[in-house]
Amino acid sequence: MLEITTAHYTILSAALFSIGVIGVLVRRNIIIIFMAIELMLNAVNINLVAHAEQLQNLIGQVFVVFVIAVAAAEAAVGLGILLAFYRNKETVNIDEMNVMRW
């Protein structure tokens, strides 16, 4: 129990990932859904870093750098779309985003 192995980190990562999944599936506010996706990305990152440490190999960390870069891009574009959508429809409810055009 007191010795922390990679398994511990993997379980933490799995739990955080599940929280993210719950957020995506249950909430309707698209901003919260975006944040849940960020949680999931973080869960993945924890996993990568933990394994990088276990395997004494930095490639996992390199991947985290890429994940962060992709997350930044995703946030920028996603929130841009969200703002454009909000300006037209006055809502951030994902259920109302059911048309491809507005």
Partner: protein, 373 residues
Amino acid sequence: MATQSAPIFDTDELVINMGPQHPSTHGVLRLVLKLDGERVVDCDTVMGYVHRGIEKLSENRDWTQIILLTDRMDYVAAATNNLGYCETVEKLLEVEVPRRARYIRTILAELQRIGSHCLWLGTHAMDIGAMTVLLYAFRERELVLDLFEEYCGARLTYNSMRIGGLPLDIPSGWDQKVRAFCDVMETKLPEYEELLTNNRIWLERTRGVGVISGPDATALGLCGPPLRGSGVYRDVRKDEPYAAYDEFDFEVPLGTQGDTYDRYLIRLEEFRQSIRIIRQALDGLPEGPIMGKVPRLLKPKAGETYHAIESPKGELGYFIVSDGRATNPYRLRVRPPSFCNLQGLKPLIVGHLVADVVCLIGTIDIVLGEVDR
């Protein structure tokens, strides 16, 4: 989609109240600004927070008591208010004012212009963030106030003139002090200029901000430095000389661009011209009485008159109707320069950023006591 409706509100529009309690509305002016981001798309000027009914009150005061009320209009330039009122009544009464009194009045009015412009410069610079200029300008304004205190005992509301002349002759040695002040002021002006005139940030904040063309300015009824900043030659001191201005040699600075920077330069130049006028007046100060021949009981003939002077803010006019029976005016109406210049605020503001709003309130140089009366 059937449920699609017009937007309930624009996401970007924000209505804010600037004032009546705001550090840079120079009193209790209230501006209702509609903002798109930081840009002002609409502006509503609300005033009247210091309305004291000075015009109405005047109808129940006798002619001399009203001088006291005029002090309270433009309270940073009380002497010019006194001057404008007294000259109007003198015109109505057809009273000749002695030359010495007219000279001293001119000196007082020009000192007042310097004092008022000091206050304007300080607060305007403060609004744009240059804190030190405020203190520097107030340091010199303090000297003006000292001179006034020595002349009439008051520092803000002077009540310094009487119908037909002046209540007091200048104290002995006062003219030397005024001369010394002129010298001091001349050395201090470069200090302000050093801090502002060529300051890059000051240029960026004032150049091209609040541009108004000459015809537009005339159409809006602007007066004083805002009008001259747009290149319109209009100065009551030159056009319809009063007091002793026709005897002095001075220039009226004009702007070319009509922006905030031009108005700033004009007022700075007016400092210099005021000093020039004061020096000429002191040099040529004639001996003689300070009160004209004024009847004991002031009872002008029935009739009306309008007389305007150039106050630091612009054209200050008084319109007085006398019914010939009472010892008080039948109607007194003031044309306050601040009020007229405030008309120009909205066209200046719309389209600019919030930060420019304070800069533009500063540049038209209003005093709310005068706007509301």
